[in-house]
């Protein structure tokens, strides 16, 4: 196992898939000569040339649509959004074009495309640059949504996403790019879309999380362990399709659940998780499922306010204690 950063794991996935399949190309702002705004595409222009690593003007709607159009006729574009905040300009293409094409064509025209880039808040980037959009896209039938938390999952899921025959919204974490972790060697490390993973086993409460909140949940689980509480950390990895089986198995075991996510609460990922649990395993619950989310406000700039707005370890520990009736 090699130890890689999340960034390099993504880079490796892109490189391997571009080597493997000539239909795969990378397009976006600053992906080629600049080596990527977050250096995910470092070295790819040198290796694959300008035909396959394409710098675009600042025109998210346009190049997202060009990607969808290319996918409709058989290419496998990877469209990089410098951040998902900017993809709002392209959401018409993602939702109205990519997600619906197969259905409204009666199955004739699929869109094998990956839209990827960093989502969620970094540090002090304020309201327009600090948003988690998982639930927006997960709402749409026809899209798949993944949000890896570790270098290994980043690589394995990106490779799976590129090979997928449907549009995949691939949400990375700006704060995760430097995260180091072990990544299996070799070219066939694939993580299937739609499979959650227990990142820490436990018996008394399930902390459901994904992307950046996996680290939050793991830290919270450590603190809970010190308090004598045995928490399980379930990393969803894929938001849609949601791994309901894994979710239900975990909560049926622990009987208590806290969902930790970066996004806002209203109609968020956690809302779907809670719905699934109460619908399927109501009688296993010993407490209402609680959610730790971003405060219901635009992200403030001030760092103290920002910290107060974010899902964090103390809030997660407190929620876990509450569902255990320890508060």
């Amino acid at each position: 196992m090699a130890v890689l950063t999340y960034r390099d794991a993504l880079n490796q996935a892109l490189r391997e898939e571009m080597q493997r399949d000539d239909r795969v190309f990378l397009m976006g702002e600053e992906v080629a000569e600049y080596n990527g705004a977050y250096k995910v595409s470092r070295g790819l222009l040198d290796e694959f040339g300008a035909r396959r690593v394409v710098d675009t003007p600042i025109a998210e709607l346009g190049f997202a649509g060009i990607g969808v159009g290319a996918a409709m006729v058989g290419l496998r574009p990877v469209i990089e959004m410098m951040t998902w905040n900017f993809a709002l300009l392209a959401i018409d293409q993602i939702v109205n074009s990519a997600a619906k094409m197969r259905y409204m064509s009666g199955g004739q025209v699929g869109v094998p495309i990956v839209f990827r880039g960093p989502g969620g808040a970094a540090l002090q980037l304020a309201a327009q640059h600090s948003q988690a959009f998982e639930s927006w896209y997960a709402h749409i039938p026809g899209l798949k949504v993944v949000a890896p938390a570790t270098p290994a999952d980043a690589k394995g899921l990106l490779k799976s996403a590129i090979r997928d025959d449907d549009p995949v919204v691939f949400i990375e974490g700006e704060m995760l790019y430097n995260l180091k972790g072990e990544v299996p060697d070799g070219g066939e490390h694939l993580v299937p879309i739609g499979r959650a993973e227990v990142k820490r086993a436990g018996g008394e409460v399930t902390l459901v999380c994904h992307s950046k909140t996996v680290a939050v949940a793991l830290k919270a689980a450590e603190e809970l362990a010190a308090q004598g509480v045995d928490a399980e950390v379930l990393d969803l990895r894929s938001i849609r399709p949601l791994d309901e089986a894994a979710l239900l198995a975990s909560v049926a075991k622990t009987h208590r659940c806290v969902v930790v996510e970066e996004g806002w609460a209203f109609a968020g990922v956690g809302a779907q998780v809670v719905d699934t649990i109460q619908r399927e395993i109501f009688d296993e619950l010993d407490a209402p499922v609680l959610r730790v989310t971003q405060a219901d406000v635009p992200m403030p700039y001030n760092k103290h306010l920002e910290k107060a707005a974010k899902a964090d370890v103390p809030k997660t520990v407190a929620a876990a204690r509450k569902v255990l009736y320890l508060e």
């Binding site: 190309f25 035909r51 675009t56 003007p57 025109a59 709607l61 346009g62 190049f63 997202a64 649509g65 060009i66 990607g67 969808v68 159009g69 290319a70 996918a71 409709m72 006729v73 058989g74 290419l75 018409d92 293409q93 109205n96 074009s97 094409m101 197969r102 259905y103 409204m104 064509s105 009666g106 199955g107 004739q108 025209v109 699929g110 039938p141 026809g142 798949k144 997928d164 025959d165 449907d166």
Partner: protein
């Protein structure tokens, strides 16, 4: 690069090949016209639901451009696309059945009037969000270039779509990267009920091509030969080195924006509609064939009977076809499991 290419044409006898080709165009235009008239009838009978935008009056644009294509080219359109589909060879049966929402429709009843697809014929929709599909067209062209092919993509949109961001973003990248697209702006002078002069800072829309480094041309859309000629030139450029073209093809719709819109209405007068009908593309072509190829009147009547039978057959087929199976509700959302 300006004015309408049909002006100044001298009435000389057509060669047999051209006359034969034009007879074909005439029949196609009559087929589209009659198809749309019957679609309007079916809509009023409740056999077609939702939105339904008819192409009556604009037939020469579809036929004049699409007739220049090869099988490996792509066609993509907006939501007034029945005529484009038929011109591309999608059968009236498949289109009518789709309008009727039947399992035998081109999208198996899941798309409807606004989403006619026939991937096998390179007909890639039928799109309902004004202007969005212009970007998709550039994507198809990007793929042709990526693969080193000289196929092109023909993209239809209305003049109102030329004001949306997707138009500008896409034409910029198409010009920048030399993507082989022929952008056909069907200027029928009204975006729903908003006249062009009330929506665009410049009304000579073809001039916008200059901003994006590509040729632009205004074309008389009621003259199918002029349309074809402009299209041939644009196609040649696209196949040669990928150069895209913006064709502003001026035409007129005789009917309302959609079935819920009166023929004329608050935004245009009856006199204006009648004035435009005097340059009806079908009548102009029939006259030309009579004058310059000696086509007898009876032949037009025969064509008329022939297209009526074809459309009646499409109607009967659509009406007698089954609805989609209820299980179809959940198919085609994602690719089938491998």
């Amino acid at each position: 690069m300006t004015a309408t290419a049909s002006r100044g044409r001298k009435p000389a006898a057509l060669d047999a090949e051209t006359a034969g080709r034009l007879r074909g165009y005439l029949r196609q235009m009559m087929l589209i016209r009659h198809f749309e008239e019957r679609a309007g009838e079916a809509y009023s009978l409740g056999l077609i639901g939702g939105f339904c935008h008819l192409y009556i009056g604009q037939e020469a644009v579809a036929v004049g451009t699409i007739s220049a294509l090869r099988d490996d080219d792509h066609v993509i359109s907006a939501y007034r696309e029945h005529g484009h589909a038929i011109a591309r060879g999608v059968t009236p049966r498949a289109v009518m059945a789709e309008l009727f929402g039947k399992a035998t429709g081109s999208s198996h009843g899941k798309g409807g009037s606004m989403h006619i697809f026939d991937a096998g014929r390179g007909f890639l929709g039928g799109h309902g969000i004004v202007g969005s599909h212009i970007a998709l067209a550039a994507g198809h062209a990007f793929a042709s270039k990526y693969r080193g092919q000289d196929s092109l993509t023909l993209c239809f949109f209305g003049e109102a779509a030329a004001n949306i961001g997707a138009f500008h973003e896409t034409l910029n990248m198409a010009g920048l990267w030399k993507l082989p697209v022929v952008f056909v702006c069907e200027n029928n002078f009204y975006g729903m009920g908003t006249a062009l002069h009330r929506a665009a800072a410049i009304e000579e829309l073809h001039q916008r091509a200059a901003s994006y480094g590509m040729p632009g041309q205004a074309v008389d859309g009621q003259d199918v030969m002029a349309v074809r000629e402009a299209m041939d030139q644009a196609a040649a450029r696209a196949r040669a080195d990928g150069t895209p073209t913006l064709l502003e093809i001026r035409t007129y719709r005789y009917v309302g924006h959609s079935m819920s819109d009166a023929v004329h209405g608050t935004y245009r007068s009856k006199e204006e509609v009648e004035e435009h009908k005097r340059r009806d593309p079908i009548r102009l072509l029939a006259e030309l064939l009579r004058e310059r190829a000696g086509m007898p009147e009876a032949e037009v009547d025969e064509m008329e009977q022939s297209v009526k039978a074809e459309v009646q057959d499409a109607w009967d087929f659509a009406e007698s076809s089954p609805d989609p199976d209820p299980s179809a509700l959940y198919t085609d959302v994602y690719a089938p499991e491998a």
